[in-house]
């Protein structure tokens, strides 16, 4: 066990080296902390008063795709009877093939532009999302509002705090506080208050503080038409760590 003795002889150096390594690690970390972007927790949305309509697609579903033309062939005719994949509405990037098929050697004929565009874009559907068809109807205000409510919720989630301080540490309160707040169209907070008390002043204050400290984004176009202010409510359910 010579190595144990040798290690023991150098234990002070070892502990110093390990400490230095940890200090270096935290320094490196601080370098990575500085540019860190705030990320918003993505918790499941719970809506009780508002039942949003299903979000309509921003584009028409593409026609049934056909097999892409073989790159080396002249695209004289579209091949009609081919297996039809399920329609793609708004394909996430994950479905994009890692390698795109090579572009056709010659462009498609203008008369067949719809099909040809579809053929070309089938492996890269997001392009179609970026360039919606001109005749797509605008999204409904309900869906825009639902998206905004979702973003408000995410912002509140990012700014929530369980109360701290001596009294909070001693009480470790639990309860639900419902807060009402009114936002202006530009996203500024007009007013806020307690709708339904948690039975704890500490929690009510923490809930109000969460709503007040949050910076909200302006309302998107088309939401709550005709209103310059809108009233929201949110319930914060506080549970101490046990």
């Amino acid at each position: 066990m010579m190595w144990v003795d040798r290690l023991n002889d150098h234990r002070h150096n070892v502990s110093s080296v390990v400490s230095l390594c940890m200090v270096a690690l935290i320094w490196l970390m601080t370098q990575s902390i500085l540019p860190m972007q705030r990320s918003l927790p993505d918790e499941p949305l719970e809506l009780s008063l508002l039942t949003p309509e299903p979000i309509r697609p921003l584009m028409q579903p593409p026609p049934p795709p056909v097999q892409p033309p073989k790159p080396v062939l002249t695209p004289s005719k579209p091949t009609p009877a081919l297996p039809v994949p399920p329609p793609v509405w708004a394909a996430p990037s994950a479905v994009v093939p890692a390698t795109l098929p090579p572009a056709p050697a010659t462009p498609s004929e203008p008369a067949k532009s719809e099909i040809t565009r579809s053929n070309q874009s089938a492996p890269a559907v997001p392009q179609a999302v970026v360039e919606p068809a001109k005749n797509v109807p605008p999204p409904s205000s309900a869906s825009i509002e639902a998206a905004y409510v979702s973003s408000v919720r995410a912002l509140l989630n990012a700014n929530k705090r369980y109360p701290t301080g001596r009294e909070s540490s001693l009480q470790r309160p639990a309860g639900k506080a419902m807060v009402w707040f009114v936002l202006n169209r530009n996203g500024t907070l007009h007013e806020a208050g307690i709708e339904d008390s948690s039975n704890s002043i500490l929690l009510d204050n923490a809930a109000l503080a969460t709503v007040r400290r949050t910076s909200y984004t302006p309302w998107p176009e088309g939401s709550w038409p005709g209103q310059s202010q809108h009233r929201f409510t949110v319930t914060l359910d506080f549970v101490p760590l046990n």
Binding site: R11, L47, L49, R161, I201, R212, H230, L236, V239, L241
Partner: protein, 797 residues
Amino acid sequence: MKRFKPQRLALLVSMAFSAPLLMAQTSTDVGRINVEGQPGGTDSGLITQEETPKARSSVTRQYMEKLNPTSNAFQIIDLLPGVNTFSQDATGLFGGGIRMRGFAGDQLGMTINGAPVNDSGSFSVYPQEYTDTENLCEVFVTQGSTDSDAPHVGASGGNIGMVTCSPKDSFGVRASQSVGQLNYRRSFVRLDTGKVGPSDLKAFISYSKATADKFKGAGGADRNHVDMAVEVRPNADVFLSASVLYNNAMNNNIRSLTNPQIAQYGRNFDFSTVAPQHLTAVAGTAQTETVPADGFYKFNINPFRNYLFTSKAEFKVNKDLTLSAEPYYWYGFGTGGGQIQQLTEGGTGTNVTRLKDLNGDGDTLDKVLAYGSSVTETNRPGVTFKANYRVDNHTINAGYWYERANHRQTGPRVAFDNNGNSSNTWLDNPSAYLLRPDGLAYQARDWKTISTGSSLYAQDTIALMNDKLMLQIGGRNSNIDRDFTNYANAQSTSATGRSDADYNIKRSYGKFLPSAGVKFNLDTQKSVFFNVAENFKAPGNFSFQNLLQGGTVVNGVLTGATLRNPAVGIETSTNMDLGYRMQTDTTTLSGSVFLVNYKNRIASAFDPATALSVDYNVGDVTVKGIELEAGQKLNKNFSLYGSMSYTESMMKQDLKLRASTATDSGVEATAGKSMPDTPKWMAAMALSYKEGPWFGQLTAKYTGKAFSTLVNDQQMDSYTLLNLAAGYKFPSTGFFKTPEVRLNVDNLTNTDYQRISSPSGSQFTVRALPLGTLAGSNPSYYIGAPRFVSVTLRSDF
């Protein structure tokens, strides 16, 4: 002048009334958000997202669950900024010391569930007496400014709070078993009733037994502990809770050593294992039994039992007003220090100093060894009444704390045999006490102190600018009345201070202590804060000992003595913090610069009025520095915590110890020197890991060099301690729910270090080395415990 148009007014009024209706019709519910604990940056359990406008840190269960389960409160907060602690051994069963920003444990207020647990006489704290870590949910530290609503009259340097967990909502049993080096064994079991009945009553009770050998020398620790708690909520507006902790410990002391002793005998030198032997008694011969130089380990023990009852009754008057009453009761009994005492039979002084024939040889000519030390028994009931009131943007906390501590301190002696067994180890059986010639028990100390503490406080927290700005203004008027009775005893019979006659002295100490804090949120993640608060500490009751002077003994009774006026007053401190915090979902950072003006430090010094060296207010100290802490969630597996403290302390005055003579000024040059035991640099790191069933934690604490004497002529070297915890959670099977096994390695690299015993006041060693006519005295050090390995198995049922 414009013409008044009633139509416009009608329109305005109708709009005003209809607006809420319209508003209500268009209200949108954002949904429910769970606020459970703290986000990722706090994953280590060593940092929380503080909102308070003062320096404050806390430790949560996430960290405590990975520690050795016998860890005491000081070990739990060791990594926090500004905290300088040591433990006498790795298990934490033997206790330890603490210092924050230069202030020792007896200058810090300590509470459990809001009830004060500092010794009511000396303000000392004994961390090994308190709750089991499994039942602890949080330990928080306020580094400089004692909280306005904290029940303290001895906290000049901040406060520490321990909070036990509530009983669980569902029925369950938890059991754990730990084994380790040094015959370490610990068994723990806890039963939770879960919610029962219409009032959701829930309760738990736990029991633990822990034993371990000392890492050097013979002897060990034996601790039995019970925690229980109950909560009930009869309706939404009433909440009742109560808890009891009971601790019974029997420890052998770990011997502290001076540097020359370490050099001569080594670091593992400890008390002797050879029992002191009585001489064969011979009638008519003056015999002298001498105290063995290295003592005897069985007669260096610290038996102590204590319990603490805390309770709370909270009433919600309306949504803006809550009232509560929080009664508590502390009881403690025990002894400590070295128990081998040499007693002299007979005597010519006052009756209380004389002894009967102890060895039974028929004469009173002998000096005989006996077993005994100071015994303390405390009965300490108290209550805090609180009111929390919210009006507009103000949240007002006001309250009143009151307690009456009966502190009985005696010094009985009992016999022991040649096998090293005393006739009454706990010194709690008066029939075993050695007697004086008048048939009463001999007492080397006999005091009763009634300490009545009270504090009236109010604090207003004002939210401004949509909660961007928080102002906190508070004040407390804290008082303590000391009613000290000295029953004639044998402690001291010198002409300059004696205690062999009864006397009573009453003193009151009090001060109004204002505090103010402000916090400004720079944005949703960053804030700055500033705080200033005054703290105070009353003198300990030991300042009232040996107050008699002069007098003569006539027929065994002291006559003509005068009572000295204790000149010592309160010590105060003004603490200022200027800090910055950043809180994101992955990062939590907090830092502050601080300045403490510490005034009228109490220490043993020369009092020119009485020409005696007694407890005295010796001067001022400034302490300033920086404290930083940060928690970072690196990814889903790793979290990192780091803290750093830089502390600069300086005593401002020299210390006059004696009257001046032609060759001795009696002055020690302490002006400009650093406070002992206050390292300039400390740093700590904790890297925690979890991946599926695996979890682990590596911590490191660097403690810079610090002086061990007031004149800074001896120092303790810097050192770094590494502790490791690693564990695995098994899948539930059969009766076992989430069983886990955990390995703990303390002092991983087996680092050598040594610490003085976190002294304060007159406990400091003034000078280690002689200088001219100034005598030196080597300070004693606790030896750092070596590497210690333990394994814990735990499961729920």
